[in-house]
Subunit: 421 residues, 2 copies
């Protein structure tokens, strides 16, 4: 069964709002194992909406429209669907009664525009709206189905979850047998998308169920392994051996899976080990502290972050010797290490992590180019530093440096867990 | 001229990411006065992409595609556009040279997949990528134009702003005469969207050219004033009196205009006044420092940020007396003020700003509920604090607290400029 999404609303074409409805529905349909190959947006224009609907009904079994069911003149979805399906519009008595009682309760004069919302294509299944007045509908003719829900996200979601998604799940199960689609996302840091893909290109090419798809995120790479099977258990047992093969090749870059970000993984490791953390940031400006503290409960292990932007503050707050800065420059492995060590001491933390670099656009020199960043890690096992050469604008360099400093911290904690640090 | 948007990427159909690119481009095109009547999304499938491209090129003058220009096998946009336009693919020498030098700088073996990104339809205008390796292109044949940019938002935006939007603006001006649409965005902090709208409801209702539209952003409100006129000057003189009337009503909340964020405005004020800044953060976790240092050149005035997450670090690093914390609690106006004063002293800065609060989900008490935040400001004129009661989840509370602390700092600097502080 093929379903496509049709978002109706001129505001979506003016960029005034982001179409979160379509993303939500796409995610839900994918969980049901329903294929979504197209997503279309048109404005509140009857001719263009009718044309788009004809194209969509011509290539898909179900067109799932959102928007254009409200009380204003702009709301034309029900009328256009009825026209394209070749049926009349009729008033749904239950919805009309609900609108009358809604108006009476609020002392509103019953406006025609309110009642207009109760109109649906003849023969359609009405989709009740538990949180608003406009009903939706499921209209089928000649084996093609048009579904329409209001565009208000809270109404749309409630109606989809209560009526439409169960309808589609039942229909998919009937037409195609009980299929489950399950995805597992492996999260990688410290490696680019093309390098990651090159390492497992043969696996990607040879796999059909599960499939493997790489995604480049702002500062990390995700590998999504997706299986289709008759049950969740069967899907899991298809994914497990493929995940193991990927981990054989790329295990050192994989820090976590699914929804858990690097800062949350690090938080869990610090908590288990009973360790406290402090950050000494220069070029990242506080971003490491911000990300660490986005995790609920981070106050249990994150003691403090010192963003020492000036050379003087590096000396004054972290005890980095002024001579060290004078000799090697603030952007140097020596200063990165002294910062990580200094913040541990200043704060009394078990682990210190640091960044110092040139985020630009100014500050670069022939020997210290834009994007040069040194990151440091200090704990009782000793100090390490790494040199990074990053691309991008100022904010991107900050984001990438923060991510790689967190990844250095992750690896340090991992080595400690393994007893090798 | 009619432009439509085509988003390419299976991840968009699986609901894994929300299509912010399309909303961004729709907004920009609407500012140019270009009509966008359709927006389509297809997956990484050559046949369906080709079909969608044919439909789009059949009804619009320009199809603006994003996504599918990366290095992996999934990235098929260039090949499909060339196929549909009936031209060959050729390697763009400049892009290929850039990729080779990128690989050489990083000691990477030059992967074929990297070089694949340099391939564009024959005869196309290449769109340079200032922040990544994959170029985009503008390919025209028989009066129909296909534009393609990468899907990574930072790359897409940089390329759109530098090359594609100017191209479309020039073409629209040539084809349709010099109708100019000009927008001026007033940026407000410390006020909600509905309150702002209520204050100027009569202006919004009575204005047709320019129009006034309020937008709620993550932690601020924007009022966009948009005029349509024959020239930029004419549009400006339509906007000016309306802006003045809005400023009469809401001036105390308006901190800036257009693209300039609060951190950039503050940076300019600090620089003009020759003042240095330090931040003492607790619940915001480093976000204030991160925002301040997102501004190029901020190292000229931002000396340091101390994220003192534990009580001990507030005492140790900022000199907040332990008794003060014991008496009033860490989340109190007294501690907020002591933090702002303490960080000035610790760092030797002219101005100190601070936050301390309960971002949740844990840590709330009956007298100190979730979302309670105290912010502080200290300079040679004295110390002030403000109590905030914020709603939202942990990250939203952090974002709102950081914004309102920056707004407190802004008002302090403003009062100082006016001689009243």
């Amino acid at each position: 069964m093929q379903v496509e999404l049709l978002s109706v609303g001129t505001e979506l074409l003016l960029g005034q709002i982001v179409d979160t409805n379509a993303a939500y529905l796409a995610g839900k349909l994918s969980e049901l194992g329903v294929n979504v190959y197209h997503k279309t947006t048109v404005g509140d224009n009857a001719e263009r909406l009718a044309a788009a609907l004809r194209i969509s009904l011509g290539r898909s079994d179900v067109v799932f429209a959102t928007g254009g069911l409200g009380p204003t003149k702009d709301d034309i979805t029900a009328a256009v669907v009825a026209h394209v399906m070749g049926v009349n519009l009729v008033e749904d008595q239950t919805s009309a009664a609900k609108i009358r009682s809604f108006a009476r309760d609020r002392g509103l004069t019953l406006l025609d525009s309110l009642l207009k919302q109760a109109v649906v294509p003849e023969g359609a299944q009405v989709v009740p709206n538990p949180v608003g007045t406009a009903p939706g509908f499921i209209s089928t003719r000649d084996g093609r189905t048009a579904i329409a829900l209001p565009g208000v996200p809270t109404e749309m979601k409630a109606m989809a979850e209560q009526t439409v998604l169960p309808y589609l799940a039942a229909r998919a199960a009937k037409e195609e047998g009980a299929a489950v689609i399950l995805s597992r996302t492996l999260r990688l840091a410290g490696i680019g998308e093309s390098q990651a893909e090159a390492e497992i290109g043969d696996l990607i090419a040879s796999q059909t169920n599960p499939t493997i798809a790489p995604y480049a995120k702002t500062y990390e790479v995700h590998l999504r392994v997706t299986a289709r099977a008759a049950s969740r258990e069967a899907a899991e047992s298809l994914i497990a051996p493929v995940e193991a093969r990927i981990r054989d090749r790329l295990g050192s870059y994989i820090y976590g899976a699914d929804e858990e970000g690097l800062e949350a993984v690090i938080g869990g490791m610090l908590r288990s080990a009973g360790l406290t953390l402090a950050a000494a940031e220069s070029c990242t400006g506080g971003l490491i502290g911000h990300r660490i503290t986005n995790v609920p409960g981070s106050s249990d292990y994150f003691l403090a972050g010192l963003t020492t932007y000036s050379n003087d503050s590096k000396t004054r707050l972290l005890g980095v010797p002024a001579e060290l800065i004078a000799t090697h420059g603030a952007v140097s492995p020596e200063v990165a290490v002294a910062m990580a060590e200094g913040v541990r001491r200043a704060v009394g933390a078990d682990v210190g992590v640091s960044t110092t670099g040139i985020a630009g656009p100014g500050g670069a020199t022939p020997t210290k180019p834009l994007g040069l960043v040194h990151i440091g890690l200090s704990d009782k096992a000793g100090n390490v530093s790494e040199e990074l050469r990053l691309r991008g604008d100022r904010v991107m360099i900050k984001e990438r440096a923060a991510q790689l400093a967190l990844f250095l911290l992750y690896r340090g904690l991992k080595a400690r867990e393994a007893g090798s640090r």
